[in-house]
Symmetry: C2
Subunit: 115 residues, 2 copies
Amino acid sequence: MIGSDVIRGYCDTILLSLLAQGDSYGYEISRAIRERSGGAYVMKETTLYSAFARLEKRGFIASYQGRESRGRPRTYYTITAPGREYLREKLEEWRETRALMDRFTNTEEISKEES
Amino acid sequence: MIGSDVIRGYCDTILLSLLAQGDSYGYEISRAIRERSGGAYVMKETTLYSAFARLEKRGFIASYQGRESRGRPRTYYTITAPGREYLREKLEEWRETRALMDRFTNTEEISKEES
DNA sequence: TCTAACTACTACGTCAGACATAGTAAATAA
DNA sequence: TTATTTACTATGTCTGACGTAGTAGTTAGA
């Protein structure tokens, strides 16, 4: 299970990564995250939609109303050029963070004995 | 540069990892993090000491006063058995998070063209 | 001896992001 | 008409990382 504290700061990156593969909408993204994580991480609706709002406000994504012939109309999101640039930066930051964490944790021998 | 939002949730893990290698104190840990990250991450003093307080409160570390012959006396921290167990869990969570992030980001071809 | 620099902290307050809780709303199936 | 699935919105909480500021002991140098 992945806790909210450790995923914090990566939600936006996950969303942008998914939108970089094509326009999508809330429910679909939600499902994609759950499925692609094998259930290890489920992004809450409030987290998801507030992230959308934040990203749109910053100009990293744009939205438009879909015209489905069936079902409630959805709001689709699309990544913008600044959004792709931001994603690139975030991916670089992710790589740095990963390298840092690996440096601090790989080396450890966590022995069981003594306090 | 690693931002505070992406490091959030990993500070405790970093500290415990370092303490798992041997008892230490604030300044030394602070220096170790700065140096071992090549300056990419500098944990602020307030962050460091409040993390110590939090971890001690939860029983994951214990403290004792050092008796140095020179310099201001320091507070040393040592990892406890529950602390080692907690560290193991956090390291597992880190591996899961890393796998998740890699799954979401590795696949992406971030092309530069179009919005 | 005065000051600066280094070491080793503490207090207080801010802020943002993830989430809990709860409700709204449209369409379809039974 | 009721339940179910989809598709959201509003409001508030909580925590952790950090900004700002100050305290305090020790040592080195002028």
